[in-house]
């Protein structure tokens, strides 16, 4: 089971998925966003926690050729992320359900794209991020963080936006601001999103979704649309057989290949029901 479900899932509700547990979207969650002792909970995640490290240390370790340091930093970063600053990839269908549970929802400028490519998103047409939960109501206090303001949406509008982003090819990620408080519903792609890039390059950052993609060889015609949409480099076209090939061990279960397939040849399977993948979250 994923760490978040263990901590915050309710087996009775939403198949035990933590993000479909309405309690986690309750208003009082916001106050807990900086985890206090009670909420730090799981000893597993706290083990090896170290606050003064960053991705820069990983890069230094490569430069220094120090495998030991690299591994230490990598593990510590993974532990830190688990505790509060982490997140999880979700497929389109599940994210629609989350949008029904959470309020308020507001479009905003993406923090990552601003930092990585200096992209300024000034209007709702440009905005590629969604802030979630009551914290959003205080946005006006921090205009620098919410450059261009916040555009609050109703559930239907939010879903429509979500589908539009999916069509464009963005990966949906739940960003935690102190688990289980979901602060952001991100739309990510490789290089421009900090989270995906950390996860792909170093195995640090948001964990994989509860699903993995699988190709139905009978339906797949090798058109290659799916290969364009994979941001994790885990989908290739196997030319010999003219079918899509998915490495399920590196698949993040974002479902972009599924939603992009015109033949309906890709399905999402429940990760926890596949023995070899049940514990593959990074």
């Amino acid at each position: 089971m994923c760490w978040y479900c263990e901590q915050y899932g309710d087996p009775e509700i939403g198949d035990g998925l933590w993000y479909l547990n309405p309690y986690n979207h309750a208003r009082n969650m916001y106050k807990l966003r900086m985890p206090d002792e009670a909420f730090k909970g799981a000893e597993v995640a706290r083990e090896g926690r170290q606050t003064d490290i960053s991705i820069a240390d990983l890069i230094d370790a490569i430069d220094e050729g120090d495998q030991g340091k690299y591994t230490r930093v990598q593990r510590a970063l993974q532990a830190n992320m688990g505790e509060g600053g982490g997140g999880q990839v979700v497929p389109l269908e599940d994210s629609d359900k989350i949008l029904e549970l959470c309020s308020p929802l507001g479009l905003m400028a993406c923090h990552c794209r601003k930092g990585v490519r200096a992209i300024e998103e000034r209007s709702e047409l440009e905005m590629t991020c969604m802030g979630m939960g009551v914290g959003m109501l205080k946005w006006e206090r921090w205009p620098e963080n919410y450059k261009g303001g916040v555009n609050f949406l109703n559930i239907e509008e939010a879903k429509e936006w979500n589908h539009k982003m999916d069509k464009k090819g963005f990966v949906h990620i739940l960003m935690l601001f102190g688990a289980p408080f979901i602060g952001g519903f991100c739309q990510c792609d490789y290089t421009d999103c900090y989270a995906i890039r950390r996860a792909v390059d170093f195995g640090v950052g948001p964990i994989k979704s509860h699903y993995v993609a699988e190709v139905d060889y009978d339906l797949c015609n090798g058109c290659g649309m799916c290969a364009q949409r994979c941001q994790f480099g885990s989908l290739k076209i196997e030319i010999t057989t003219q079918k899509a090939y998915i490495d399920q061990f590196t698949c993040f279960g974002c479902g972009l290949c599924e939603t992009g397939c015109s033949k309906g040849a890709i399905k999402l399977l429940d990760r926890t029901r596949i023995p070899a993948l049940a514990e593959v979250w990074r």
Binding site: E214, V215, Y217, Q248, F249, P275, A276, L277, V280, W281
Partner: protein
Amino acid sequence: MVSARKFPKITIDQERCTVPFLCKKCLQICPTAIFSVHGVKEERLKELDPRIDGSYVLSAQRLDKCTVCNRCLDVCPVDAIKIQVP
């Protein structure tokens, strides 16, 4: 880290699986291509006949990529494959 896990154990009953290069069902259905087929004894001036028992042997090499989807079990006409989940 990928995760802490034991790989599945795949055993192939060579008594039953006698003509893998002729049958080739598991080799072509496997989504992660973990199987491999080899001629048992390549001889000078001789081509091996896939129809002759034991001229080829099937092996499962890339256990790390097996997701236990069990498709090979479904297609195997002689039930020669066993997957043991650790």
